[in-house]
């Protein structure tokens, strides 16, 4: 009986996917459903919660700090896309080139930052971008006669520091994605193009870029999510969740502030749901535009 059951071709597939379904249900679907419910309640840990309808959402829409957090996250996401897609792609192509010397060295050097803890990296960057004359960046700028800059107190300079950290950390990872994509492009295409007299630039735009498209779409998708969900980088760079004038506050940072620091979990849940909606909207639009949902020709 049991043997029949186990060897049954109908049941076996379900057993194989069961672990995934269970993990998905327990750690993803249930928390999501529960946050949606919570976002319509006034919930504090240890206190009875009450239903308050859409009050949390209407409060969110007129909350200046929340809107600031959303704009910070979106700007950060866009800027990381601008930096973290073209440059890693370029570096990958360079490193993949047969005539490049020290390929393995560059590969590991670029990837190395991803292995460091973000806590350590954030702290080091905070000290580098310190506002005192003696901090690394300011003493470097001082060589050119530039007055010390209060990097972490200004919106633009704060983002410079934040993006420097993100670039330093993620360029290598994205580069590896592109490298693995490049490895799957057959050499023959380039040979044929050479025979037809194509220039290197033409080969890059006509062969490399189109064939890298699946990799690019994947990298864009995860970068959009990572950009919108960024939190620890900002928290470490400003040594806490409260940056001056909230210049480094992200959506997740605001969720943390409301939910953990102020124990208002219902409001924090509403923030989370809005983040989910924004991320989904942007990513689905992006996937439709890049033709991911189109049927294969």
């Amino acid at each position: 009986m049991i043997k029949n059951f186990l060897y049954s071709q109908k049941v076996a597939p379900y057993i194989f996917v069961l672990p995934f379904i269970a993990v998905f249900a327990i750690f993803w679907a249930y928390p999501l459903a529960s946050s949606v419910g919570m976002s319509f309640q006034h919930t504090m840990l240890g206190q009875p919660s009450e239903w308050i309808g859409s009050d949390n959402y209407s409060k969110l829409m007129s909350d200046g700090v929340f809107l600031k957090a959303v704009s910070n996250s979106v700007v950060y996401m866009v800027l990381t896309l601008v930096i973290l897609i073209p440059f890693p792609m370029l570096f990958a192509v360079l490193i993949n080139n047969k005539f490049m010397w020290g390929r393995e060295f560059f590969k590991s050097t670029f990837f190395f930052p991803a292995l460091t803890s973000i806590v350590v990296a954030g702290t080091v960057f905070r000290l580098m971008f310190g506002e005192m004359e003696g901090s690394l960046i300011n003493s470097f700028l001082g060589l050119f006669g530039v007055e010390p800059i209060k990097f972490l107190k200004g919106q633009v300079t704060g983002f410079v520091a934040l993006l420097a950290l993100a670039s330093w950390r993620w360029i290598g990872v994205n580069m590896l994605y592109f490298l693995s994509g490049l490895k799957s492009i057959p050499e023959e295409y380039y040979e044929a193009a050479s025979i037809d007299g194509a220039s290197s630039f033409q080969k890059f735009t006509r062969i490399t870029m189109p064939l890298l498209k699946p990799t690019t779409i994947y990298v864009i998708t995860i970068s959009i999510y990572a950009g919108l969900a960024m939190f620890i980088e900002s928290m470490m760079l400003w040594n806490g969740n409260n940056s001056p004038k909230n210049i480094g506050l992200t959506i997740v940072g605001y969720l943390y502030r409301q939910g953990i620091e102020k124990n208002d979990l219902g409001y924090a849940a509403a923030v989370g749901i809005v983040l989910l909606l924004i991320a989904m909207a942007i990513n689905i639009t992006q996937l439709i535009l890049t033709g991911m949902f189109k049927k294969e020709d």
Binding site: G46, Q47, M132, K153, N242, P244, N246, I260, N263
Partner: protein, 442 residues
């Protein structure tokens, strides 16, 4: 070959991910066990704090407790965590009833979060009663709700001015002549012209100065109905005075945003600022983090807007609490009262921590306060208790209310930065702050 490469890559990425999570999720803090000469049968109590020094005080008191109470001996497991971290973890632990320590330090600014709704802390009234008449009532009220005491105070935190006499002498200024902010301004201009150094800081990440200005005018961040009023006339007047001082190069913003930060300790230690207006517990920061200033720092009453106004206020504070989930509640309560409220404890709080104890009788004990072997007496140019006793009746209080965490958050992240870093109009910035605070408290 290609597959192998890909596999290696995936394993690496996965490992990175996992370590990344591990680092983010866990900030365990430093843990030490203090046994204070306790025997085998001693009960272990967990104690969380965000100030390493507080553990030293408990170490002294634990020895005395274990000697005096051989039947009820205690071992203390002290965990020191960063400020935000500790309060966040403690709040969650206390509210969910899981993983909380037996006793913990809660800073004044965070205390209202723990009093929201039904407090998940043990009432301490019976432990306080034997000492109630000897300690400053208002300090106890800070950690109470509806007459129930939930936290035991550590100090009065009388705010004073710390002057660097070396810089002042170089500029030909005598700090004893400074009575009003007008005098302070004149002295500051002289200091800036003669030495190129700033007289003091314009704080952007703390409300010590705003509170100081309000207290002098008998005002507060909240009104009698506990409604926020950060755009009050008094607040505007106070910040206008500070802003004017900044415009005359008397005050300047400092790295870290206020004197009690790591960056600022460095700036002060290098002698870039001639004064700091801080609660008295700031003394311990001088002895611990600014060794180069030994013998140069003098303590004096705060300058005031008009002569005759109160010259000090209680600032900051830590309430030590017993959680509802403590292993032995009565033992924890009795030990806390012994370690924080008894006369002995008050004397040790001064000896070890350099705080102004809540039992003001200690302030009069010359042999304790003027003990030449005391490290604070040695470090400072004059004796803090001479100053404290002189203005004992002028120590004002700023209320701690359920609105305080929000008010602090808005002022310290947004408003003070706008005013002192970006030069935004004071009334405009304060009106915006008031609006945001009301919105968040809705």
């Amino acid at each position: 070959m290609k597959k192998k490469w890909l596999l290696l890559f995936m394993v690496t990425v996965f490992t990175v991910w996992m370590t990344g999570c591990g680092n983010g999720g866990n900030a365990g803090g430093e843990k030490t066990v203090i046994d204070g000469g306790a025997g085998e049968s001693a009960i272990s109590l967990e104690y969380w704090t965000f100030v390493e020094l507080h553990g030293q005080h408990f170490e002294t008191m634990l020895k005395k407790w274990n000697e005096a109470n051989p039947e009820r001996q205690i071992k203390l497991n002290v965990t020191v965590m960063p400020y935000d971290d500790m309060h966040n973890k403690l709040l969650i632990a206390v509210q969910t009833g899981e993983g909380a320590p037996d006793i913990a330090d809660v800073e004044l600014g965070k205390f209202p979060n723990f009093l929201a709704g039904t407090p998940q802390l043990e009432p301490l009234n019976d432990a306080v009663d034997p000492f109630r008449d000897t300690i400053v009532q208002s300090r106890l009220d800070l950690y109470s709700k509806d007459g129930t005491n939930y936290g035991l105070p550590t100090h009065v935190g009388a705010t004073v001015a710390f002057y660097n006499t070396e810089i002042l002498e170089e500029a030909g200024v005598n700090y004893k002549d400074i009575v009003t902010w007008e005098d302070y301004k004149k002295a500051g201009i002289q200091v800036y012209e003669k030495t190129g150094k700033y007289m003091g800081t314009a704080d952007t990440s703390a409300t010590w100065q705003s509170a100081m200005m309000l207290a002098q005018q008998d005002s507060d961040f909240t009104n009698d109905e506990i409604k926020p009023q950060v755009n009050s006339e008094q607040m505007i007047k106070g910040l206008t005075i500070l802003k004017d001082l900044q415009a005359s190069n008397v005050l300047a913003t400092i790295a870290g945003g206020q004197p009690d930060t790591e960056e600022a300790y460095g700036e002060f230690n290098s002698g870039n600022y001639a004064s700091a207006m801080m609660p008295l517990w700031h003394m311990s920061r001088y002895t611990n983090y600014m060794p180069d200033l030994e013998g140069k720092i003098a303590i004096a009453p705060l300058p005031v807007i008009k002569e005759g106004m109160p010259r000090s206020l209680g600032g900051g504070g830590t309430g030590t609490v017993v959680t509802k989930t403590a292993k032995d509640i009565q033992l924890a309560k009795d030990f806390l009262a012994f370690a924080k409220l008894s006369l002995d404890a008050n004397i040790e709080i001064w000896n070890t921590l350099g705080f102004d104890p809540v039992n003001t009788d200690v302030w009069e004990m010359k042999d304790v306060t003027h003990n030449p072997d005391n490290k604070f007496v040695k470090y400072f140019a004059n004796n803090p208790f001479d100053v404290l006793n002189e203005m004992k009746d002028e120590i004002q209080l700023i209320k701690s209310t359920s609105a305080s965490p929000t008010i602090n958050n808005i002022l310290c992240t947004i408003t003070l930065n706008e005013i002192f870093e970006d030069g935004r109009d004071i009334a405009e910035a304060l009106n915006a702050a008031q609006e945001q605070i009301e919105q968040e408290l809705k």
